[in-house]
Amino acid sequence: MEKFGFSLSKARVINYDANDRGIVRYIIEREPSLKLCIECGCCTATCTTGNFTDFSLREIHILLKRGENEQVREKIRKCMLCGKCILVCPRGVNTRNVISVAKQAFRKTEGYEL
C-alpha cells in the first residue's frame, strides 16, 4: 500500500522457474509444430489484427513458452483466426491451431494450473 507517496514497482523480470508452463505443454501435445518456431516475426507482419492494434503472434508464442500465461489470456482474444500467418510461416508452424488450442487451454484453466 502506498504510505509514502510512492509504491513498490512490480519486477518486469520473467522468473522462468516460478512460472507454470502447463498451458504450453498442453498446446505442444496437440500441436507439436509450435516447437519449430524460430520467432522470426513473419506471422506478426502479415497479421490482419496486427494492422489495427499491437497484436504479435510471435510475442504470444514466446510468452507461452516462458509461462507468462496471464498476459496471453487477454491478448489471444484479438486473433481473428484468418489463417494468413500459416501461409507465410517459414517453418510450417500451424499457428492457427496454436491459438485455437491455447484458447481452449485458457478456458479450461480459468486461473488454476492445468
Binding site: M1, E2, K3, F4, G5, F6, S7, L8, S9, A11
Partner: protein, 346 residues
C-alpha cells in the same frame, strides 16, 4: 584468478583526507573513528583541511552541476593538498571516489581539459595544483591495515552462541570499481576490499545472486519522488535475494549504499510488513569503520550505531558485546536525548 590482475598500489602514509557530505549526519562515528584509527592507533599522518568543500557528487549525479565546475572544485582540493605538501589523497565517500577517478581519467585522455581547469582555478582562486600521485578510498586503507586491526581485535566476527563465523554480506559501492576497475582492489566483478576485511576479522563472506546488484540508491531514482518506487524496489530485490542466506550483517563502503540499505528496510517494513532477517528482525547495515571499531571493542554507542534505522543489538548479542540499553540515547555528559519511537530490532 583474474581479480589478482587488479592489485592496486595503496600508499602507506601522509594522506590528505576529504570527507563525505552525508556520512557525518547519518553515520557520525564512521569518519570520526577512521581519523582516530589512522592517527592514534596506527600513528599515520592524515591531514584534513577544514576549508575543503563537497566534491559536488550529489549535484553531478542530479545533473545540476556542469562538468567544468566539478573539475575546478576537485582541482581546488588538489591545490589545498599541494599547499599542505601532500601527494596522496584519501577519499571518504565512494561517490566522490568515482568523481575523482573519473576526472583523473578525463585529464589523462583529454589533456586540454586539464589545462582549461588549471586556467579556471587560477582565475577563480589564484591557486595552482598538481595531480596527486596516489588516489585511495578510505576503505582501501582499512583493507590495507586490516591485519593490524585483526591483531587488536577483542570481538572477532564469530557468533558466540554457535561458534561459527558470522555470515556477512559485503556490498561495494558501484562507483568504487565498476566504472574504472583498475582503481578498485580486485577489479569490477569480485572486488576484495570488503571481503578481505571480513575474512581477516573471522567472518564468512556470502555470495548471493544479486551480489553485484545496485543497493537501490540511484540518485535520480531517489531524488525525484515519482521514481522513488524504483529505488525501493531495487533494494527489496537485493534483500529478498540475500534473505535465503540468513546474513547477520551487511557491510558497505559507501554512504549512499549504507543509508539506503538501512533506511529502506524500515520503509518496506512500514509499507508491506516484510523484513529480511530471521524471526522478523531486519539486518543491521554497518560501514567498515563502524565494524572495525566494534571488532576492536569500542562502545557501540560511541560509534553511533544507535543513529541507524536498523538497530544492531541482535548483532551485538551474537558478537557477545556488552552494551547498556539505558544509556543508548544519553549524551557524553549524561543528559537524556529524546528516544525515537518505532526503532527496528530494538
Amino acid at each position: 584468478m583474474v581479480w589478482r590482475d587488479y592489485q592496486k598500489e595503496i600508499a602507506d602514509d601522509h594522506f590528505f583526507y576529504v570527507r563525505s557530505c552525508i556520512r557525518q549526519s547519518f553515520f557520525p562515528g564512521s569518519e570520526q573513528f577512521f581519523l582516530h584509527l589512522m592517527r592514534d592507533v596506527l600513528g599515520k599522518d592524515v591531514y584534513e583541511n577544514p576549508s575543503h568543500t563537497t566534491c559536488t557528487g550529489i549535484g553531478y549525479h542530479a545533473d545540476v552541476v556542469p562538468f567544468s565546475t566539478i573539475q575546478t572544485v576537485i582541482a581546488r582540493h588538489y591545490a589545498l593538498m599541494k599547499e599542505a605538501g601532500y601527494k596522496n589523497i584519501a577519499i571518504s565517500c565512494v561517490t566522490s571516489f568515482g568523481i575523482y577517478t573519473e576526472i583523473l581519467e578525463t585529464w589523462k585522455h583529454f589533456p586540454e581539459e586539464l589545462e582549461k581547469t588549471r586556467e579556471y582555478l587560477y582565475k577563480a582562486t589564484g591557486r595552482e595544483f598538481d595531480v596527486p600521485e596516489n588516489v585511495v578510498h578510505t576503505s582501501d586503507l582499512v583493507y590495507k591495515f586490516r591485519d593490524q586491526i585483526a591483531a587488536a581485535a577483542k570481538y572477532p566476527l564469530i557468533n558466540k552462541q554457535t561458534g561459527e563465523p558470522l555470515r556477512v554480506v559485503e556490498h561495494i559501492g558501484c562507483h568504487y570499481a565498476k566504472i574504472f576497475p583498475k582503481y578498485g582492489v580486485g577489479g569490477a566483478e569480485f572486488p576484495q576490499v570488503l571481503s578481505g576485511m571480513i575474512e581477516s576479522w573471522g567472518g564468512q563472506v556470502i555470495d548471493y545472486p544479486e551480489r553485484r546488484h545496485c543497493c537501490g540508491f540511484g540518485f535520480r531514482q531517489y531524488l525525484v519522488q515519482a521514481n522513488r518506487g524504483y529505488s525501493l524496489s531495487n533494494t527489496v530485490k537485493k534483500f529478498s535475494s540475500m534473505k535465503a542466506y540468513k546474513p547477520d550483517l551487511v557491510l558497505t563502503n559507501c554512504p549512499g549504499c549504507t543509508m539506503f540499505m538501512d533506511k529502506w528496510q524500515y520503509t518496506i517494513k512500514e509499507m508491506e510488513g516484510t523484513t529480511f532477517g530471521d524471526n522478523g528482525e531486519s539486518i543491521p547495515v554497518l560501514t567498515y569503520e563502524e565494524l572495525a571499531a566494534l571488532v576492536m571493542g569500542y562502545n557501540p554507542w560511541d560509534i553511533g550505531l544507535q543513529i541507524h534505522m536498523v538497530q544492531s543489538e541482535p548483532l551485538l548479542r551474537k558478537m557477545g558485546i556488552e552494551f547498556d540499553p539505558s544509556d543508548k540515547f544519553r549524551t557524553k555528559d549524561g543528559r537524556q536525548m529524546p528516544i525515537p519511537k518505532n526503532l527496528i530490532n530494538s
